[in-house]
């Protein structure tokens, strides 16, 4: 009971604090821009790193927070000049479920706390991203706004600010190239596979890109005829994988068996006819050889995503077809033989009963 009271008090305090903060008398923007409005305003931290402290008023006015005052977010700033270095802004001051100022919020935020980023931040990792690292700070805009850091086309660049190598790979990949060069909206960006607030490490069994979940992640697009049809790509690749030894072992929880990414690559996926692709015909021995020791060019002779039910499978199709009919005809023959035998036995037993042969 006392725990309930304690929880109630904590929630009440939190709500009260939130209301107080959001309705607190805002500090006039002018006061801050005396210093922060100067383009050269900067500070040098202990490690010698130069940090610009200039805030472009125009950018702020173009953001979703145009009506907010500096201290709405920088609530710990209470005096000018600041004797204590202002802390990193905490968005949850306003963005919590049921907040009274109408700051947008959804349950996704809770997922951040459990995500690889949220946990790293909670563990005190300095460069772990907070909200503003992805969403932007003074320039924050709705994700539907092309100027936003989290506008679909801009997501790879935003994630790439920390994940530099991965961004470099993605940019060259079939997906990244289509997005960046052609503005293609069908190709996946980082969040399409990894999730957004709920991003987990690929080694976490809950992750959408955990080895046994990769096929499902790819299937969202690659099993969709409506998307694949546009580019002349087969949409059965995931289905044929599911039917293969790799797919079955994956389904039953093997984490070492090959998934889509094991052969095609992850961020560096290329077209199969691109000589740099891991599934380019000359590269297949090397790619398969990562698991199958001594793999040679034999691994490339024959269709990889083979579906025995399709004519394109060639000899595999015909052998399966022949066996199917052999089985069906054998079964018909055997059942007919059994029926005839039963019929004969019935006739014999009638004869025995009546002592007379059937007419």
């Amino acid at each position: 009971m006392s725990r309930f009271i304690l929880q109630f008090c904590a929630v009440a305090l939190f709500v009260f604090a939130g209301v107080t903060v959001c309705y607190a008398q805002p500090v006039d923007l002018q006061k801050c821009t005396i210093c922060h409005g100067k383009p050269g305003h900067k500070r040098i931290d202990d490690s010698g790193h130069v940090q610009s402290l200039f805030v472009d008023e125009k950018i702020l006015k173009g953001s979703v927070h145009a009506v907010r005052a500096c201290t709405d977010c920088h609530a710990d700033v209470t005096e000018i000049p600041h004797r204590v270095l202002p802390k990193k802004v905490n968005c949850t001051r306003c963005h919590y479920l049921g907040n009274p100022v109408g700051a947008p919020q959804d349950v996704d935020y809770q997922a951040y706390l459990k995500s690889v980023h949220g946990r790293a931040a909670a563990n005190g990792k300095k460069d772990a991203p907070w909200c503003q690292d992805c969403h932007g700070n003074h320039n924050i805009k709705a994700h539907t706004n092309p100027g936003s850091n989290i506008f679909r086309d801009s997501i790879p660049k935003t994630c790439g600010r920390c994940h530099v190598d991965i961004y470099a790979q993605y940019r060259e990949s079939v997906h990244g190239e289509a997005l960046i060069a052609k503005g293609n909206q069908d190709v996946p960006v980082c969040t399409s596979c990894h999730g957004e607030h709920n991003i987990l490490a690929p080694t976490d069994p809950g992750s959408t890109v955990y080895p046994s979940h990769v096929a499902e992640a790819c299937s969202h697009c690659h099993a969709a005829e409506t998307i694949m049809g546009k580019y002349g790509i087969e949409s059965e690749q995931v289905a044929t994988y599911d039917e293969s030894f790799h797919g079955i072992a994956g389904k039953f929880g093997s984490a070492t068996v090959a998934n889509c990414a094991s052969c095609h690559g992850v961020h560096d996926i290329r077209r199969p006819n691109d000589p740099k692709s891991s599934v380019y015909i000359d590269n297949i021995p090397k790619t398969c050889g990562r698991c199958h020791e001594g793999a040679n060019i034999n691994y490339a002779k024959g269709k990889i995503h083979v579906d025995a039910k399709k004519k394109e499978a060639g000899i595999v199709y015909y052998v399966a077809f022949a066996f199917k009919w052999l089985t069906i005809l054998t079964m018909i023959g055997l059942i007919a033989h059994i029926m005839l035998d039963l019929n004969k036995k019935a006739k014999n037993s009638r004869q025995r009963k009546t002592g007379q042969p059937d007419a």
Binding site: E293, G294, A295, G302, V306, T330, L334, H337, I338
Partner: protein, 250 residues
């Protein structure tokens, strides 16, 4: 008196004790102990192979999924399948040895050899079953159905062992053969397994269990014996030979 079960004599013409007249309740040896043990090894390994193999082939089916989970996942499933395969291979090798180098085995094997009579028997049985003829075919120790089943098992097991080896040692295999051969091998292994399963499950079940004359079970696989009454009914030519031998002995 039925002949004493005598393994050394098994496979040869059944002997009936001297000086006694034959009656229907007498039994003769049909399968020697050695033969019965081979049969048990064969069907035990085939059942295990069938369950583990078909559950992989139809892994989307809920029952197959359940079986694989009960077996402890795909890797343990594979292990069980291969252990059973080794048992089958050992049994098969022993059988080849048995029919080639033992007199009992060889005599039995020669009786299983298909001949012209089997085809005419089959035609005659069809005619009789369809009511086109009043003459029922009579058989020796093994009728055409039993010979067909034996032949089917020999061909099926040989195919399964050969294709199974290719798939078991897929990395060394692929050093030699291209991927499409592996794909074909997988199809052959799966469909041949399914065919064998259906034949055994349907036809053999009917012949030795569900058939009204033997229901619920023909006990010959356990006791190795068959009564003269049944012999007369099902293998009349062998029965005649038994009678002739018994008369010769008198």
């Amino acid at each position: 008196m039925p002949s004493k079960e005598n393994d050394a004599a098994a496979g040869q013409a059944p002997s009936v004790a001297v000086g006694k007249s034959l009656n229907d309740e007498m039994e003769i040896t049909r399968f020697s102990l050695n033969f019965r043990i081979q049969h048990i090894v064969l069907f035990t390994s085939l059942i295990v192979l069938g369950i583990t193999g078909l559950s992989l082939m139809f892994h989307d089916n809920w029952l197959a999924t359940l079986i694989i989970r009960l077996e402890g996942g795909v890797e343990i499933r594979g292990l069980i399948h291969r252990v059973a395969a080794v048992v089958l291979i050992a049994g098969s090798l022993y059988h080849v040895f048995y029919v080639m180098f033992t007199e009992a085995g060889h005599t039995e094997f020669m009786k299983l050899k298909p001949g012209r009579k089997d085809f005419s028997d089959f035609r005659q049985a069809l005619k009789f079953d369809l009511g086109l003829s009043d003459k029922e075919p009579v058989f020796e120790k093994f009728d055409y159905v039993q010979k067909f089943q034996y032949g089917g098992v020999v061909v099926g097991v040989a195919t399964m062992i050969f294709s199974g080896f290719i798939l078991w040692f897929e990395t060394p295999s692929m050093a030699v053969v291209p991927k499409w051969v592996i794909d074909v091998t997988l199809i052959v292994h799966g469909y041949e397994g399914l065919l064998a399963f259906l034949i055994l499950f349907l036809w053999h079940q009917y012949n030795v269990h569900l058939n009204p004359t033997v229901f619920p079970m023909d006990r010959a696989w356990l006791t190795g014996r068959i009564s003269l009454k049944d012999l007369k009914e099902k293998h009349y030519l062998e029965y005649e030979e038994v009678v002739r031998k018994s008369q010769d002995n008198e």
